[in-house]
């Protein structure tokens, strides 16, 4: 039986509004083991934590129960408070009477009764708590960044600048990501390549950063501070050391028919290619499906023309195993497939393009060398219509329920650039709401409307019908004037919704990082810990965590970097003390627990044992506290209850069950 202090928090009115806090204190006072009970406005405040310290000294408490918000929020706060008061931090239990009680039960009697029961369960558990001492595990002072877009690059640069080695793993042949495909960027209309390429060069040149391009993460094991990652370096069939990047092979390559992924499929590329001119590393890759040498065995022209002799058809995929202390996911995004949106005739007419395709059309290095022309017949368009929220803010499951956040700004940018370069072109934008909340964002949008005369129509487009004369009939509605609009356009640009990279779910499973139904990685806490995954040692950078524009991505990349640096700066990490422990007098040595342990943390040894006078050597399970993460699978697999989990022991959970069913 412990000497327990119970502290019930008002949480301002969050709890006190629907739970009679005074009554909870009064009822819990008579619970066995409770020697002190009080309530306070804000337990998590400095003053609140101070009250704990006073009570511990005054009543010589050995256990603390705090009835407040979710332990996922303030468990560490109250554990530190207990530690400062001289108690072992694991003698603290939290009864969640806010999220699980006051916020969801309006009737004050019901709320109070439930709060008492939850408090009683916490007291029953603390009665059986034992002091726990976190172990230590060493930290590999290296980081891994998955994804080479602006998010990955910026994170890697910031980590490397802090002096730690970073590896970037990029699936495509070059780093740069989606940003490298953009023409200009809002709100400053900088040329995207101009601000991105220097960072790419820095990343390549930085002695602390190693690039694994055209590579994928294959397998991840271990845990925070001690990850072991297998990286598959796909065969480029070009020797990176010998290649000088002269580009002769790309010119001479006879197979030029493959659609260029970089140009969103609009232009073509050769079988041996670098995605774009400023590619880093500037080492081409042979696409085996398009290469005549691989398909028919003939050709081999690129090998002949290569002065450096860098072409090597016999190259094989290579698996590299590396050790890391932290992993940052920066897998970026892509536009959604528009197959469900045939009302916009995206698949019927070549002149209906997505905004990202428009970026390539307006880009000098793009398929139309920067001239704004219709992709069907190459003529200069006179009427351009932009349709917003294509696939975003969708109530049915055709598209995405969320707002993709960046479309309003880049459509304003496109409209402004077109009006500026081709003043005679009319630009109409059909929108539901224009959302330009950032710094200088709304002023940018205002300039597009007032200075460049972009015609913004509040309304949705019902249908886009390709006309026999090659034009596109846009049927839309104008909600402000409350009338239907029929407009003939030469070109229609769809502001398409964005979704996380399609490989992110496979990576999340490998990292055991939690992921939500829209495939965005779940952050540890939406407001307080946006750049960390709940899984320790995994950090989130860029759109993989949620839709965001480049300025936010870069700031989040920096935040993720400093979190990684904070982790790598430690020599030792405190490991979770709630690990499994085998009672050597009860253990049968039957290996059932080792079969279910996901971390291989259980090994066996023959030990001399004195079981109440019987001395013999027995095969005993031994848990490696550094590897064990405390999931508890082994405690249920063990029939005799020899294996128990510290912090969530069988008797503690049974005590909670008893207290609840009383």
């Amino acid at each position: 039986m412990q000497r327990i202090g119970v502290f019930v928090c008002h949480c301002g009115s969050n709890i006190a509004a629907t739970v009679d806090v005074k009554k909870v204190v009064e009822v819990i006072r008579s619970e066995p083991g409770v020697v002190h009970a009080e309530d306070y406005q804000y337990m998590c405040s400095e003053a609140g934590q101070e009250r704990i310290a006073i009570a511990v000294k005054e009543h010589k408490l050995t256990g603390i129960v705090v009835c407040s918000c979710s332990p996922r929020m303030h468990e560490t706060t109250f554990r530190k408070a207990a530690e400062r008061a001289g108690l072992n931090p694991y003698m603290v239990e939290i009864a969640n009477i806010r999220e699980h009680c006051s916020w969801i039960h309006k009737d004050i009697n019901e709320g109070t009764e439930k709060a008492v029961i939850l408090a009683r369960a916490a007291v029953a558990k603390v009665n059986l708590n034992t002091p726990l001492y976190p172990g230590e595990s060493r930290v590999t002072k290296r980081a891994l960044v998955i994804g080479g877009g602006i998010a990955g690059i910026q994170t890697a640069l910031d980590i490397a600048d802090a002096g730690y080695e970073v590896d970037i793993v990029e699936k495509t042949p070059s780093i740069g990501g989606i940003m490298s495909q953009l023409d200009k960027t809002f709100p400053t209309l900088d040329c995207s390549a101009c601000i991105l390429t220097p960072k790419m060069v820095d990343a390549a040149a930085h002695e602390k950063i190693k690039l694994y391009t055209y590579s994928e993460v294959e397998k991840v094991s271990g845990f925070v501070g001690d990850f072991t990652v297998d990286i598959r370096k796909k065969a480029r069939y070009v020797d990176a050391d010998k290649c000088t990047g002269c580009g002769l092979c790309q010119e001479k390559c006879p197979s030029k028919k493959t659609p260029s992924e970089f140009n969103r499929g609009l232009g073509n590329r050769s079988a041996i290619y670098t995605p774009f001119a400023q590619a880093i590393p500037n080492v081409p890759v042979i696409d085996t499906d398009a290469c005549i040498k691989f398909k028919t065995g003939k050709c081999g022209l690129c090998q002949k023309v290569c002065a450096a002799g860098a072409i090597d058809y016999t190259q094989k995929d290579e698996i590299v195993t590396e050790k890391y202390g932290a992993i940052v996911v920066a897998t970026g995004f892509d536009t959604i497939k528009l197959d469900n949106y045939d009302e916009y005739a995206y698949n019927q007419s070549k002149d209906v393009i997505t905004s990202l395709e428009l970026e390539r059309v307006m880009n000098a290095a793009g398929p139309t060398h920067g001239h704004l022309e219709r992709l069907s017949d190459g003529k200069a368009p006179k009427e351009i219509v932009f349709i917003q929220c294509v696939g975003s803010r969708c109530s049915d499951d055709r598209g995405k329920p969320y707002c993709s956040k960046i479309c309003c700004m880049y459509t304003a940018k496109h409209a402004m650039l077109i009006r500026d370069k081709y003043p005679d072109v009319n630009v109409t934008v059909f929108y539901i709401d224009v959302r330009t909340p950032g710094k200088n964002f709304d002023e940018f949008y205002r300039r597009a409307v007032e200075q460049y005369g972009v015609n913004y129509v509040k309304g949705q487009v019902g249908k886009v019908i390709p006309q026999p004369n090659g034009k596109l009939l846009v049927q839309g509605s104008d909600l402000l004037d409350n009338k239907q609009i029929l407009k003939e356009a030469d070109m229609v640009v769809l502001a398409t919704a964005i979704e996380p990279n399609k490989d992110v779910r496979k990576i999340a499973t490998m990292l055991t990082a939690s992921i939500d139904t829209n495939n965005f990685l779940t952050e540890a806490h939406a407001k307080l810990r946006p750049v960390e995954s709940p899984t320790a040692g995994i950090f989130l950078s860029g759109v993989c965590q949620g839709p965001k524009d480049i300025p936010e991505t870069v700031s989040q990349a920096g935040a993720a970097a400093i979190k990684v640096v904070g982790l790598l700066a430690k020599d030792k990490l405190m490991t979770n003390p709630c690990t499994a422990h085998a009672d050597e007098l009860l253990c049968n040595g039957c290996s059932t627990c080792a079969n279910v342990c996901p971390y291989g943390a259980i090994s066996y040894e023959d030990k001399q044992v004195n079981d109440h006078g019987i001395r013999e050597t027995r095969r005993i399970a031994v848990v490696n506290n550094a590897l064990c993460q405390g999931c508890g699978a082994c405690t249920v697999a063990c029939p005799s209850g020899a294996m128990d989990l510290q912090g969530f022991s069988n008797r503690q959970i049974l005590a909670e069950v008893d207290a609840i069913c009383r």
Binding site: G589, S591, P639, S640
Partner: protein
């Protein structure tokens, strides 16, 4: 049986084994007891007949700790249990010299008594090498006879086959005794309505006297200290209040041996109140076969028990509601 005795004496004398684990003649015709024989002449009292139903593999846990090898006579169904104990490192293979003894189905004296036969003085027809189709029973109240099949243990009617799964030597021939569908009883209960099912198990389990014979005889239930005896789960209850504790004990025991139970039927054989305990374990065996693919515990040593394994597309727990 004589061949078995001479072979045992030979192995004992030439030192291959230090002791023989078999059965000793009882003082009544139907109660031979498992026994260790260390000397050749003590083997004269060795017996192997229709009443030697005990599964000796559990004794091998302690015997593995003794000096020298132990000769153990295992029936076909016992060898599954030995394999299972081997998988769980509880017995030592090189401390055991296994003789696979033939089996023509084992007898249950309770069944003979249930037919009204009392005051049994002698029984013939149960010898290992006899035809084993009728039993001639001489009693204080006159000569009686009883068909071998009617006196056979329930587990022999659903015998898993006479092939020994692990042995060093085979002695004696077997006879197939399976004449009932293994899951017939389980399916019959599953077909009942919830009220009938509850009434059936309430009636059966209310007889339980908490003697732990089923647990202590079961080769799969071989913990050093059972969870019901320790305070690990605060569940060391021994009350017989005929309400919940018996259900908790038997469900949890069946759960702990799920995927490890070889259906050797010992629990039903030893229950003093004749509770059909095999119905619990066989239910789990049927579920595991249906949901996760056929699995016979102890078929070969080292197989991964179903509850320590998984597949990505396992059925959801709600299948129990849909299955009707």
């Amino acid at each position: 049986m004589q061949e078995l005795i001479t072979r045992a004496k030979e192995l004992l004398e030439n030192g291959t084994v230090a002791r023989v684990l078999g059965w000793k003649i009882g003082d009544l015709p139907y109660n031979p007891e498992p026994a260790f024989f260390e000397t050749a002449e003590s083997l004269d009292k060795f017996v192997y007949n229709g009443f030697c139903g005990a599964n000796l593999s559990k004794y091998m846990i302690e015997a593995s700790k003794l000096e020298g090898k132990t000769l153990v006579c295992l029936k076909p169904c016992d060898t599954y249990s030995f394999n299972q104990l081997l998988t769980e490192h509880r017995v030592d293979r090189d401390k055991a010299y296994i003789i696979g003894v033939g089996c023509k189905g084992k007898l249950d004296v309770e069944k003979i008594k249930k037919t009204g036969i009392k005051g049994i003085v002698s029984i013939s027809g149960a010898e290992a090498d006899s035809a084993c189709d009728t039993l001639e029973i001489d009693t204080l109240y006159g000569k009686k006879s009883c068909a071998y099949g009617d006196a056979m243990l329930e587990r022999c009617h659903v015998c898993k086959g006479k092939e020994h799964k692990i042995y060093d030597e085979l002695i004696g021939e077997s006879r197939d005794t399976a004449d009932k569908e293994r899951f017939a009883e389980v399916e019959m209960i599953e077909a009942m309505s919830p009220e009938e099912k509850f009434a059936f198990f309430q009636k059966e389990l209310s007889k339980c006297i908490r003697c732990n014979a089923c647990r202590n005889v079961c080769p799969a239930c071989s913990c050093r200290k059972c969870v019901f005896d320790s305070n690990k789960f605060d569940s060391a209850q021994k009350a017989n209040v005929d309400s919940f504790e018996e259900k908790m004990f038997h469900i949890i025991r069946a759960f702990h041996v799920a995927g490890r139970c070889t259906d050797c039927g010992e629990c039903s054989r030893v229950c003093p109140q004749g509770i059909p305990l095999h119905l619990f374990n066989r239910k789990f065996i049927k579920d595991i076969d249906e949901l996760y693919g056929d699995y016979t515990a102890g078929a070969e040593a080292g197989s991964l028990a179903p509850l320590t394994d998984f597949k990505m597309d396992d059925a959801e727990p709600s299948i129990v509601n849909e299955r009707g």
